[in-house]
């Protein structure tokens, strides 16, 4: 390697390194505050402390003990019934490698019968959701599920449904569309493929028959006449 190309490489590494190591926040600041507050309310109700930590290509940290951006600090006074910490390592697929997105999830807990990823699956979430299009909602829901799952195991009391008056202007938006169509979508997809195959087959064979008829209707060639 020449001195010039070595210098270029060093310069490129120096310029690109900070950009490559920069991590994207997974949650918007207000979402992180809401999640930490939900966990803090659960902690007050249950005596169990909760926290989350996501590292890798995206990052997010927070806890019921310190709020957003503050890692869980579990002590016997604040957390008399123990703690549950949700950790994930998210590495997105790189353009030059064959591997897909890699997500490792770990739930570390000191409560008996702690939540597992099987419990998350029952709620409709898997580790892959943390690398999906709605990764922020997946993280909020998976971490938000921890107090519910702890209550289900009997390790702490359930968190009561908090209610508040709805401001007059606030209302549900977006009609999500037909429940029947959504539920039958997989079967409807298969039905559509079968139907299209049938139509395609029919059109192809009718077209082929038409061609053959046209071909038969043409005057015989000189060679055919002589044979």
């Amino acid at each position: 390697m020449s001195l010039r190309s070595l210098a270029a490489t060093v310069l490129a590494v120096a310029v690109l390194a900070p950009a490559a190591s920069a991590q994207t926040p997974l949650l918007a600041p207000e979402d992180a505050i809401d999640l930490a507050q939900e966990l803090a309310d659960a902690q007050a109700e249950q005596g169990v402390c909760y926290g989350w930590e996501v590292k890798g290509d995206v990052e997010s940290t927070g806890s019921s003990t310190g709020g957003p951006d503050v890692p869980l600090a579990a002590d016997a006074t604040s957390c008399p019934r123990g703690f549950v910490r949700f950790s994930a390592d998210v590495v997105y697929e790189c353009s030059s490698c064959d591997n897909g997105d890699q997500v490792y999830v770990d739930i570390d807990a000191s409560v008996p019968d702690p939540p597992t990823m099987d419990d998350m699956a029952e709620l409709g979430y898997g580790s892959g959701d943390l690398a999906g299009d709605e990764d922020d909602q997946a993280l909020i829901d998976m971490v938000g599920a921890l107090p519910l799952l702890v209550a289900e195991s009997g390790a702490a009391a359930p968190v009561p449904l908090e209610r508040t008056a709805v401001p007059g202007a606030d209302r549900p938006t977006r009609s999500p569309g037909s429940d029947v169509l959504r539920t039958v979508a997989p079967v409807a997809g298969v039905a559509a493929v079968v139907l299209l195959l049938g139509v395609g087959w029919l059109l192809y064979k009718v077209g082929e028959a038409r061609q053959a008829r046209k071909w038969r209707a043409r005057p015989p060639t000189r060679r055919e006449r002589t044979t």
């Binding site: 939900e38 005596g47 519910l148 359930p158 606030d170 409807a188 049938g198 087959w201």
Partner: protein, 157 residues
């Protein structure tokens, strides 16, 4: 003497192809119709499967909500309901699970003594019931932007 070439490949079998293609088309239509006719709405599914426990009116709502109970824990109950009738969206919060359907919101929370309580609400009532958790997700929310205020000492009630 051999026959002319154009007489050697008549459209034999076209009828079989038409019948085969027609059968496929019919199968596709039947599949779709059967799937649609056997699919139930979430209200019917819950009424068929869970024990009715009366009605209640969420404060400010225009309609009563239906209440059911399940002997299963909330995550399993919500999983069963969403497996049977696919929700458009879902939210899981410390207090319970929320499922959104076309015109209904379903809320599944732990029940004292074990199992779950299921609330089937019209949109407006469901949004009111779960506003703390659903505001800004499934509707407008003007109460955002608070700072973290903590939760006080762990009581472990």
């Amino acid at each position: 003497m051999s026959r002319p070439m154009h007489d050697q490949d008549p459209p034999v079998g076209l009828r079989a192809h038409v019948l085969g293609a027609g059968a496929l088309i019919l199968l596709g239509v039947v599949l779709f119709v059967v799937a649609c006719s056997t699919a139930t709405g979430v209200r019917e599914h819950i009424a068929d499967r869970y024990a009715a426990a009366g009605t209640e009116r969420v404060e400010g709502a225009r309609t009563d909500s239906l209440v059911y109970t399940s002997s299963e824990r909330p995550s399993r109950t919500a999983g069963e309901i969403s497996g049977a009738v696919t929700p458009a969206d879902r939210r899981v919060a410390p207090a319970g699970v929320f499922l959104r359907y076309d015109e209904d919101f379903v809320t599944v929370v732990p029940r004292a003594g074990g199992g779950s309580t299921i609330y089937v609400d019209a949109e407006d009532a469901g949004y009111r019931r779960g506003f703390v958790y659903l505001g800004g997700w499934w509707g407008t929310y003007s109460g955002r932007g608070e700072s973290f205020r903590g939760g006080g000492p762990g009581g472990g009630k």
